[in-house]
Symmetry: C2
Subunit: 187 residues, 2 copies
């Protein structure tokens, strides 16, 4: 499984499609979860040149610069990051360097699509087929509806037990990777 | 269940006991997870007066200031925060306003105690007894060994499936709350 965090196309508070700004801790936290649970790579997607440079600078600091010797564990996490300009580039990269064109599964905090969401158990079973899967997280107020509609699968929203589910994308990604790939036998 | 995030006594990279600085996104992310999964309150503990004022300022912005009307969902999360100077004050607050003196369970990314860690299943069963439980997360490089040794219970570390487990405290807290309180029947 491959993981992507995208900053476009996502929606703002008013539902308008925007390009969001990169949040430093999204990169760190999701890279650490990707490394912990054993996904193959973590793609950070932004079409903006200056944002791309910012991500490159952060990743380089921790993988090649001072951070790499100061905290080698962080290096091992941030090494998982690939920076791409579009989701099409991500799919192409996996197709070339991975095991073929991946099926794309999107995550969403709300039930926004007409299709019913795939359960975590169903997705776990799907992962057993040995084919590449790309799991996509959106920043800001979430992935745009047209993007969700084009995906192969939609994963069910995380339900707490309170009716309130407004987790950060960092925490949602960590929970979903744990649900899909966490070694329950060890816990 | 009650949740606490403490900035003292924790250890730094070299294992020395320190007081860590407050991270803004720890407050937001853990408050959102606490609200989502239905813990009763989120205690933020720091003995430093200036750090306490910083947390008060952040919480006040989102619960009473501009943030409260800009993003009412964030208000509902940050309303869960109580600021205390010590873990003793947290225990006392729960004893007075809750249902008695809580049992204290600590979390740790490593197996550092001589006692075997409690499994997630065992903790879930314990939560059924209706008595108050306080789950404590440490910042920086984790809770100090003497603090861990004094706790009633230690929760098993989160295991991924890679041998690497260096999650942020934000993500670890979210995963643990999901494992203990997430409504699996809905997913």
């Amino acid at each position: 499984m491959y993981v992507a965090l995208t900053h476009y196309p996502v929606v703002n508070k008013n539902g308008e499609i925007i390009t969001s700004a990169v949040t430093n801790l999204d990169l760190h936290d999701i890279a650490r979860a990707v490394r912990t649970f054993g996904a193959k790579a973590f793609y950070v997607v932004t079409p903006l040149a200056d944002q791309k440079r910012l991500v490159e600078k952060i990743v380089s600091h921790w993988t090649k610069g001072f951070g790499s010797t100061y905290n080698p564990k962080r290096r091992r996490a941030l090494e998982m990051i690939h920076i791409k300009e579009s989701m099409a580039q991500v799919v192409e990269h996996i197709a070339v360097f991975g095991a073929g064109i991946p099926k794309v599964t999107v995550t969403c905090a709300r039930d926004t699509d007409t299709r019913p969401g795939m359960s975590y158990k169903e997705f776990q079973e799907l992962l057993q087929n040995g084919k590449p899967h790309l799991l996509v997280f959106g920043t800001a107020w979430g992935l745009s509806q047209p993007f969700i509609a084009k995906a192969d699968y939609i994963l069910e929203p995380i339900k707490g037990n309170t009716g309130y589910n407004h987790l950060s994308v960092r925490c949602a990604a960590a929970i979903i990777l744990d649900r899909l790939m966490g070694n329950r036998n060890l816990n």
